[in-house]
């Protein structure tokens, strides 16, 4: 599903150049649930941004579902993002003046789906995260866990190939974190490929594979025995 070879990225900080990614080789198969770990400054967010086509690598190749991702203009990148990727953010990033339902339906809007179809699908995905009753509520009326669940439903709505989650539990207490991870695991059980960036050990252990980044290189890449979040809920 994801094929990365010799990926380099540096940022220009004044006169200094900061080499963040120093040659990453990495591949993810369909249906995997991968945790990307590392301390801050290890380059894990940069990697996720490149995977999410929000940022572009200086060097190296990136294939997503056998499509080369290179030299995209913004319009093309927008289409690819919409088609291939679903994003889950640490700070949820829901649009605060739209209801839960409208937030979930937004990627479908950019897919030019009909209104009726959008509403049906969005309701469907809200049901999947257990928030059907909250469809008409604004984000400000939801708890943190509920917000993140709406965000997950939104990421799923476009039926993407890969879900990218950037510290999805970073702003949540542990009980809520496990609830969210439970949902992520269930989605993964249905066959969705998911990448989770985290620095929390217990969250990482709920994935099937852990990739450790340090100073811009992968120092460890191991399969783990998955801890089911449902036992904590």
């Amino acid at each position: 599903m994801i094929e990365i070879k010799d990926l380099h990225k540096s940022y220009q900080m004044g006169s200094n150049s900061l080499h963040v990614l120093k040659g990453i080789d990495f591949s993810v198969k369909e249906g995997e649930l991968v945790a990307i770990m590392g301390s801050s400054g290890s380059g894990k967010s940069t990697l996720l941004n490149i995977l999410g086509m929000l940022d572009e690598a200086d060097n190296g190749s990136y294939f997503l579902d056998n499509v080369p991702i290179k030299g995209l203009n913004e319009t093309k990148a927008a289409h690819y993002r919409n088609q291939f990727l679903g994003f889950i953010f640490q700070s949820f990033n829901l649009i605060n003046y739209k209801t839960a339902l409208e937030n979930v339906a937004l990627p479908l809007y950019y897919q030019r789906k009909k209104r009726k179809e959008r509403t049906e699908k969005a309701l469907d995905y809200l049901g999947k995260v257990g928030l059907s009753k909250w469809a008409t509520h604004l984000p400000s009326e939801l708890s943190g866990g509920q917000k993140q669940r709406v965000a997950i439903a939104r990421a799923l709505a476009a039926d993407p190939k890969v879900l990218l989650a950037d510290e999805p539990t970073g702003a949540l207490d542990s009980t809520t974190s496990y609830e969210v991870m439970d949902i992520i695991q269930k989605i993964n059980d249905e066959g969705k490929t998911i990448l989770v960036v985290t620095h929390e050990e217990d969250i990482a252990n709920m994935c099937k594979r852990i990739v450790h980044l340090k100073d811009g290189v992968i120092v460890e890449d191991k399969k783990v025995e998955q801890v089911r979040a449902s036992q904590y809920v």
Partner: protein, 420 residues
């Protein structure tokens, strides 16, 4: 551009505008105020214009007056200071020789410029008033309003030297009871009986007041022993002629006929109404121009305010825009949405401004009514000015919307999302 016609686009914009209430209101106020002022100024200028025009309404504007004065240059054996006296012969000569003339009417008056007024007597009351000797044509130049049942001097009156008179409203009020019918009544002027045939109302141009008496020209000449002498003449040029040229021609002719030096500017006096009207017109045009400049400048200020507010809100909405783009919004979709928001805000605000402005003008018009003291009459705005201003508002809204739209697109989604 297809997306403009999609319901979803409008729903997105409606949502964004409705949920950002404060900025929407502030933005709308800016443009509404601008358009409101624009409409108001334009309407008031139009009202002034209408008012000035109505002042001249009762007067043919291509009219001039000529009278005799004293010569200032010795000529042909005459010394300077010779008094010029216009006569009926002059009138006839001008009438037959100057093509530009539509009407030429001699007038006579007593009670003005040192001449004694006429003695008006009815029953036991008496008074002294100005008396004019006039032809019916004077009514074509300076329209008189005559009360119901009466008439002005007509051609028969002058032909037969009838002893009839038209009196001013003020005289009527002094000499008659309320609701008393003066028509057909007999009064004495300088000891001679006259029949009253009409009462006139003072008009706006009010240069003869409402306390004068009009007699047929010929009757006046006989009674006051004027022979062929006249006080002055009133000349109206044909519609397509330039009254200023006509004035020059006529004065040159008069100088030849009266043996006056060609360079003598003092021998004949004249007053050109056309010239005065042109001055007022120039003033009104200038005022209209200023109104347009001020109005348009206010509009631009309002639209710039919109651009400014949108720019701020784009900054506020950076994260939202970043999310939208992460979810697959293309730059052109983002740009289109911001610009449409700008256009719609300006359009709606403009419309509101026009409505309020028009309401105020309507209110002013109702409040003033027919009050002659306030020089505002029927303040309206031109339909095409409204359409034109609306179109330029939308155009300006589009242009000013480009700036925040471009700003929104230029922020890369990653930076937008990183922003806290």
């Amino acid at each position: 551009m297809k997306f403009i016609f999609e319901r979803d686009t409008w729903q997105e914009i409606y949502g964004a505008i409705r949920k950002n209430k404060i900025r929407t209101i502030i933005t709308v106020i800016g443009v509404t105020w601008g358009v409101f002022l624009f409409v108001f100024l334009l309407g008031m200028a139009k009202g002034l214009d209408n008012s000035f025009r109505s002042q001249f309404n009762d007067f043919a504007t291509n009219t001039m007056f000529v009278w005799g004065q004293q010569t200032s240059i010795p000529h042909d054996g005459f010394k300077r200071g010779r008094r010029m006296q216009l006569t009926l012969d002059d009138v006839d000569a001008l009438r037959s020789q100057v093509d530009d003339i539509e009407y030429i009417t001699p007038r006579n008056v007593t009670g003005q410029w040192g001449t004694p007024p006429g003695q008006f007597v009815r029953g036991s009351k008496s008074g002294a008033f100005k008396v004019f000797g006039d032809y019916s044509t004077i009514d074509k130049v300076a329209k008189k309003k005559i009360f119901d049942g009466g008439r002005f001097i007509n051609d028969e009156d002058t032909k037969y030297e009838r002893k009839v008179c038209v009196i001013g409203e003020d005289i009527y009020k002094q000499f008659y009871e309320k609701d008393e019918d003066p028509i057909g009544d007999f009064v004495r002027i300088n000891g001679i009986y006259f029949k009253v045939v009409g009462v006139y109302k003072p008009t706006n141009n009010g240069f003869e007041g409402d306390d004068s008496i009009y007699l047929p020209f010929t009757t006046f000449q006989t009674i006051f022993n004027q022979g062929k002498n006249i006080s002055w003449m009133v000349i109206t040029a044909k519609q397509d002629k330039n009254i200023v040229n006509t004035e020059t021609n006529i004065k040159e002719m008069l100088k030849r006929m009266h043996n006056v030096h060609p360079d003598d500017t003092q021998a004949f006096g004249s007053f050109n109404l056309g010239e005065e009207v042109a001055k007022v017109n120039g003033f009104l045009t200038g005022m209209r121009l200023i109104t347009y400049i001020v109005g348009i400048a206010t509009l631009i200020a309002g639209v710039i305010a919109i651009g400014n507010v949108l720019l701020i809100t784009v900054k506020e909405r950076t994260r939202e825009i970043g999310v939208r783009r992460a979810l697959g919004a293309t730059p052109s979709e983002v740009r289109g949405q911001i610009m449409l928001e700008s256009i719609i805000l300006t359009f709606v605000a403009g419309l509101l401004g026009f409505i309020f402005g028009t309401l105020l003008l309507w209110g002013i018009n109702t409040a003033i009514g027919n009050n002659d003291d306030i020089p505002i009459l029927n303040p309206t705005v031109d339909f095409f000015a409204v359409i034109g201003a609306m179109m330029s508002i939308v155009l300006l809204g589009t242009l000013i919307g480009l700036i925040p739209a471009q700003k929104a697109v230029s922020i890369r989604p990653i930076e937008a999302l990183r922003e806290e």
